[in-house]
Each structure stands twice: as C-alpha cells, then as structure tokens.
C-alpha cells in the first residue's frame, strides 16, 4: 500500500486513474444493460397480457368466468397454459358456438397476434405448457418408423391407424388428423383438449412427439401415397367390403342385364 500511495504523484497516475474509471463505468454499463432489455421484454409481455385480457373479457369471460376461474358453462382456465389456448382458439374450436357433446373445429376468428395475446393472458393466470417452437414440432430429423410404433401404441385406438379419426361415446368423436397444423398436433398431445387424454413430456418425451408428427404427415398428408388407390377413407375392411359388394356386384348385375336385354336377332322385336 505504501508503495502505491508513494507513487500517487507519478506523472502516469492520472492515466491509471482514468483507465480504472473507464473500466468501472464500462463494467457497470455491461452489468445493467441486459437488465434494461429484460425490462423492455416484460413491458411488451405485460402489454400483451393487457391486450389479451381485453379480448378475453369480450370473447371468453361469459363461459370461463371473469378471472378464468370457470363457471357452469366452461372449465377453469387457470393452469391450462398458452399451448391450450393456441390449440383451442387457433383451430377455431373456441370460442364455442353452442354447448354440445363436443366442440367442433370451425373457422378461426382471431388473428395469430390476438391468439398470442390471449394465450399470454391465460398463461399469466397459472403456469401451464407454453406454445411449442417450430423446432419442437417440425418433422425434420424425426424417425418416422418409430413414430408409427408410438402412434399405434398411443393414438390409433381413437384416431384410426392412419389418423382418419373415429367415433367415441355419446356423439363424441376423435377428429381426422388430415391437414392439421403440426403445431396444433403437438399442443393437443401436450394439453389433452376436451376428452382427449394428454401425453405430457414426462411420459412421451419431445423427440417422440416429433416422430409421431412426422408419421402422421407421412401417412395422412396432402400427398401421402395410397399404394392401392381409392382408399375409401382409409377405414379398413368394412368400407372396402361394402364398396365391393355394392359397386362390384352391382356392376356385374348391370352388365348381365344389359347383355340379356339386347337381342341378337336380325329382326328386332
């Protein structure tokens, strides 16, 4: 210490002090700047929540309650998470038109931005699954065969072996997965909309969801091949048998009648 204070009148002392001061300011700035940015994020977040709350009170509060606590007409939304909102509103299921066995898919009435704001508001009511990123659900790098295995174990019982959908009890049904956005498939698995059970990451890890989505796209996409042609809804032997009996046999009978009805005589009678 003595050594240091002895040199305080050294000609370079001012330079050293200046350098130290600069470093301190820079360091302080570096320490505080990201905090500022985070501040900006939270404000835009709380803005989205504010906006979402407005949309919510107009479109959703009548059934789900003013604070999302639920009512006799709709379940509580506390803890359902942003993913559930994005699925239900993004596929047009919500807002529901009328009560019934099941709320069907309809035209989407909110923009994606409004849906995100709504999701932000609902997510602020209680922690729940967040919206997945495109990396999580895009089928790139997925194992389609493994996806097929998983699909047959977990999904086929309701959605049919190529995702064509099927009937459930009392007017409910599992929808056809044809043309469903991979993001919505992912969210459905994660949140279990309506009567569908959920398949959380704890029992079906992220990579497996990706494999499943890749499989669905491979067998039920816009241009997935149907090697036999004319798959008749992909429902299996029942519809195929019915088609064979009615149209195959019908055509045979029609030809037989046509042949018999046309005389080969020279003089037509």
């Amino acid at each position: 210490m003595k050594k240091l204070s002895a040199r305080r009148r050294h000609p370079l002392a001012a330079v050293v002090v200046l350098l130290l001061a600069l470093a301190a300011t820079g360091g302080l700035y570096a320490a505080f700047a990201p905090a500022d940015k985070a501040q900006a994020d939270t404000t835009s977040q709380s803005l989205a929540i504010e906006e979402g709350k407005k949309i919510y009170s107009v479109g959703c509060a009548s059934c789900h309650g003013v604070g999302g606590q639920g009512s006799s007409d709709g379940p509580s939304l506390v803890g359902v998470g942003a993913a559930a909102v994005d699925f239900q509103v993004g596929t047009g299921r919500m807002p529901a038109q009328q009560p019934g066995a099941q709320v069907p898919k309809k035209k989407v009435i909110y923009s994606q931005k409004e849906i995100d704001q709504l999701a932000a508001y609902v997510a602020s009511l209680g922690a729940g699954p967040a919206q997945p990123t495109s990396e999580q659900y895009s089928p790139d790098g997925a194992d389609i065969a493994r996806g097929g295995d998983l699909f047959r174990t977990n999904c086929t019982q309701c959605h049919n072996f190529t995702g064509e959908g099927g009937a459930l009890t009392h007017g409910k049904s599992a929808p056809n997965l044809d043309g469903v956005d991979p993001k919505h498939i992912y969210e459905a698995m994660q949140t279990g909309p309506q009567n569908m059970p959920s398949f959380p990451d704890t029992t079906m890890p992220e990579q497996q969801k990706k494999d499943l989505i890749a499989y669905i796209q491979a067998v039920n996409g816009a241009d997935s091949p149907s090697p036999g042609g004319l798959n008749l809804g992909g429902l299996g032997p029942v519809s195929e048998g019915l088609f064979g009996w009615i149209f195959g046999l019908g055509a045979c009978i029609a030809v037989a009648i046509w042949v018999a009805a046309h005389t080969a005589k020279a003089k037509k009678s």
Binding site: N154, P197, S198, F199, T202, P227, G229, A264
Partner: protein, 352 residues
C-alpha cells in the same frame, strides 16, 4: 299404333303362326297354349359376311386378353414395388399395383366378353324342348330289389348271429374316437395360463413409450399412459403372449372423483392401473375420454367407467376391467403390489 286400332282377329291365337313346340289345338279356345314363337334368325345366320365379322371380333377379344397377360408379366418385371405415380382420379398410387390390376382385369374381361359374344352371335340359338318324364322305377324293378335285399339279409345271418352284429356296431362306434383324439393335438392344455399374468409383487411399471420405469410425478391428471411389467423385453420370444395379458392402462383421476372405495385403495394418489384387455372377447381397449373417465371398446362398444371401479356402463362385456394394485417402491418408481386378483380378459368356462 294404339291397341284400339289392331283388328280384332290379329289378337286371337288362331291368327298367330304356329311355333315349333306345339300346334294350336282348338282355334276357338282363347286360352290355348300358343306354343313357342317362330324361330327368328340372327343376322349372322343369314349373312355369311356378318358371321365372319363376329368371328373376327371374338378372336380379337381373345387376342387382346393374351396381350394383356403379356403386359401383366411385363409390368411385374418392369416396375419396382415402391414406385408411386399420380394417376387421376386415383391420386398417388403404386404403379405396380395399378398396372397389375388393369392388365389382369383386361385379360379376364376379354375372355368373358369374347365367350359371351361367341355364344350370342355364332353358336346355335335354335330353341329346344326337353320333355320331363317321371323318374320312379317300374313296380317289377322295385319288387326285385326288395326281394334281393331280404335274401341277402337272411343269407348273411345278420339277425341270427347276434355276437357278430354287436361287435360290428362296437367297431363302427369306436373308429370315430380316433378323430376326436387327434383334436388333442391342437395344442397343450391352457392349464393355469389364463389365470395369471406377469405382474407380481414388486414388479415396476415400465412406460411403453420410453421403456423407463414410471414415476408417480410423470403421470398427470388427464393423461393416458401404457405400461408393461419390468423385465419383459419387446424383442423376446414370449413378448406377444405376455403383453396380451399384462398390458396396462394408467390414468390419474382426482382422488375425490373416484367413486369406488376399493379402486381408491388400490390406486396411488389417484393413479389407477387397469387391464387394457376388454372383458368381452379381449380386444385391446384404450379409447379413454379424460373428462368423463369412460373407456370405450372399439370392437363391440362396451363402455367402462374408470372412476367407478371400471364398472360396465354399456355393451356386451360381462364384468368390470380388472384393476392392478399399485404403490411406490424405495426408488420412487411405481410398482405392482401383486398380480391381478382375477383373470384378465374374456370369461372362460372354468373361470368360476
């Protein structure tokens, strides 16, 4: 021409040409059998050129069939099995399937069409009559047969030599038993196999997706998970036999919502494990509706209520789905506390 304008006599049978089959007997009987109409020749019967043309058509059809068969063989050789092409209106379809189907269809159709055309235009089409006669034998023949039979019976001593007769009956009755014994070869008797599964006390529940032991915190309310017993390998020889009995469906229900006392006791904090095998005829069932807790069987629509001891709500199933009693072991994993109390799956005769 309306019917009024036809002169009266033209409608009477006498005015019609007598056909091949029989002549008109009484001209004044309006209900007399008119017989067959006169044979009308076909153009091929009259015109040799038309007949030649028909011959060529038939031969052409048969030739086409041959070509189609050659094309069938050629496409079998030429097209790879996995080549997909777009064909309107069928969509994306395997070219191999498509060409095999079309060529074989043409080959068969042309044989049929050629045969029909041949029969209709070239083979004789003159109407023919075959009279029917009674088919009974004459009284003399009948009497002779009966006499022969009686003579044979008395000569063989069938009625007198009772020992021979009875042993013959015995021999005839025993022979079919050999066939019945062969049925035993259908497989070993099931013995106790239907009564127990691989589940036993201390066996961990393995998640069928991840193949890792399930932990209670993995299973959230509203989720559906499938589990198999620890130690069962998917590629082992007996996997199918064992999983067909041991397959398990895991759901979590709020303990307050569980109506059945025993079900609650056998659960772990609301996590319940039920057999996935329908008690009707054993289809795997897992159409679980998480809000109603109903499970539907896709085969004959039996519906079970998982929040009430898996009682049958609807359908042909005879009894509730068996529940597996579960708990948590020292490592915090879910484990079975024993085997199912009752046989899983459909009822069988000696089930008791």
């Amino acid at each position: 021409m309306s019917s009024q304008e036809i002169p009266e006599e033209e409608n009477l049978p006498s005015a019609q040409e007598p056909g091949h089959g029989g002549a008109v007997e009484r001209a004044d009987d309006p209900f007399a059998d008119p017989g067959l109409p006169a044979h009308q020749p076909r153009i091929q019967d009259i015109d040799e050129r038309a007949a030649k043309r028909s011959e060529r058509v038939v031969a052409f059809l048969f030739l086409l069939s041959m070509l189609a068969t050659v094309a069938f063989i050629a496409s079998f050789v030429a097209f790879p099995v996995d080549k997909i092409v777009y064909i309107w209106p069928l969509g994306h379809i395997s070219i191999l399937n498509f060409s095999l189907g079309v060529t074989l269809g043409v080959a068969l159709f042309c044989i049929g069409a050629g045969a029909v055309h041949w029969a209709r235009t070239l083979m004789s089409d003159v109407e023919m009559t075959d009279e029917r006669h009674p088919i009974a034998a004459t009284p003399e023949v009948k009497a002779k047969v009966l006499a022969d039979f009686a003579a044979g019976a008395s000569e063989s001593g069938f009625g007198r030599r009772k020992l021979i007769r009875n042993t013959m009956f015995g021999a005839l009755a025993f022979v079919p038993l050999s066939g019945v014994v062969l049925l035993r070869d259908l497989g070993p008797l099931p013995e106790k196999k239907l009564r127990s599964t691989l589940w036993a006390k201390g066996k961990q529940l393995i998640n069928m997706n991840t193949l890792e032991p399930l932990r209670p915190e993995d299973v959230v309310v509203g989720s559906l998970t499938f589990a198999m017993p620890e130690g069962l390998e998917e590629d082992s020889e007996e996997f199918q036999v064992e999983i067909a009995k041991a397959a398990l469906m895991i759901v979590r229900i709020q303990p307050d919502d569980i109506k059945d006392k025993r079900e609650l006791d056998w659960s772990h904090q609301g996590i319940v494990a039920f057999s996935k095998i329908c008690t009707h005829v054993g289809c795997p069932i897992s159409l679980y509706e998480q809000q109603t807790h109903h499970v539907l069987c896709p085969c004959h629509q039996s519906t079970f209520d998982l929040s009430d001891g898996a009682r049958v709500l609807f359908g042909p199933a005879g009894h509730a789905l068996p529940q597996l009693r579960i708990g948590v072991n020292g490592e915090g994993n879910l484990e079975a506390l024993g085997d199912f109390e009752e046989p899983v799956g459909p009822a069988f005769w000696e089930r008791g």
